[in-house]
């Protein structure tokens, strides 16, 4: 059996022919519907906190996000959210519920290693990148805007 020597160039080519082509349009429709519904639910919660619990329009985001995170963490615990993720792709990953899902699932996955080294250490294994990039970007942009006030 003759084999073509694998190098970096033709490996990428050879790999591509074995990867299934994703159904682009269908995936986008699923992501649109699920992501949209999660956002509508968030808006519903916001309205509820404004009208029934006397939060101002600006502050109502805080309890809304907290509620979504609680529900998403529970759904991850019951194994429901991962099924939703397989169906909806980015539709369940992009909303803040996906952030909570990544925290909870990383912690659950390493539970067998103990509470400190397993759960607590791995809590931010996936979500850490979001916080790191968010803070770095916000810090740099904040400095630029702060200095920009003196120039303009």
């Amino acid at each position: 059996m003759e084999k073509q020597p694998m190098n970096e160039k033709n490996f990428d080519k050879a790999r591509k022919s074995y990867q299934p082509k994703p159904p682009y349009v269908m995936n986008c429709i699923k992501a649109f519907i699920v992501g949209g519904l999660i956002c509508v639910f968030g808006e519903l919660l916001t309205q509820m906190y404004i009208h029934w619990f006397d939060f101002s329009e600006k502050n109502a985001t805080n309890p809304t996000v907290a509620t979504l995170i609680l529900l998403s963490a529970l759904a991850t615990g019951f194994g429901v959210y991962d099924k939703l993720g397989q169906f909806a792709g980015a539709g369940s990953a992009v909303p803040v519920t996906g952030f909570a899902n990544s925290i909870t699932s990383a912690a659950l996955e390493h539970k067998s290693e103990g509470l400190v080294l397993g759960v607590a250490t791995n809590l931010f294994k996936l979500a850490g990148s979001v916080i790191v990039f968010g803070v770095v970007a916000a810090y740099i942009l904040g400095i630029i805007r702060y200095l920009g006030k003196f120039i303009f």
């Binding site: 509508v40 985001t61 615990g77 803040v96 970007a137």
Partner: protein, 116 residues
């Protein structure tokens, strides 16, 4: 009416994420990180607030609002305390989200057994 726009805008943000996943072959972690940075950049140009006013939950629920809140809290405090205010305020608006994510994530991980 806000509900309809929340659905459309929130859905569209997720579609952008799906395209990044499928077409550009990024991992979910890369998509989420890019979105947070994108939210901060949009807030730097004061665009994200308009989107929130227009779409409500469609703009506050996606992870982009995390980047927006980071920068927003930083700018609010920097008005009072100068350049140190950026560090003081950066987690001010997002602390509810991060604190509850840590708390609920930890509790669920302690109580539930891993599945599959």
């Amino acid at each position: 009416m806000t509900f309809l726009w929340a659905f459309i805008v929130g859905g569209l943000i997720c579609v952008i994420g799906q395209i990044l996943l499928d077409v550009f072959k990024l991992t979910p972690a890369h998509v989420m990180s890019s979105f947070v940075v994108a939210g901060a950049v949009l807030d730097a140009f004061d665009l994200y607030d308009n989107l929130i006013e227009f779409a409500g939950g469609g703009a506050t629920v996606p992870i982009t609002s995390f980047g927006h809140s980071l920068l927003h809290g930083a700018m609010e405090q920097s008005n009072e305390h100068g350049i140190i205010g950026i560090a003081i305020g950066i987690f001010e608006l997002t602390s509810a989200g991060i604190a509850s994510a840590i708390l609920f994530g930890f509790i669920v991980a302690v109580i539930f057994k891993p599945k599959g």
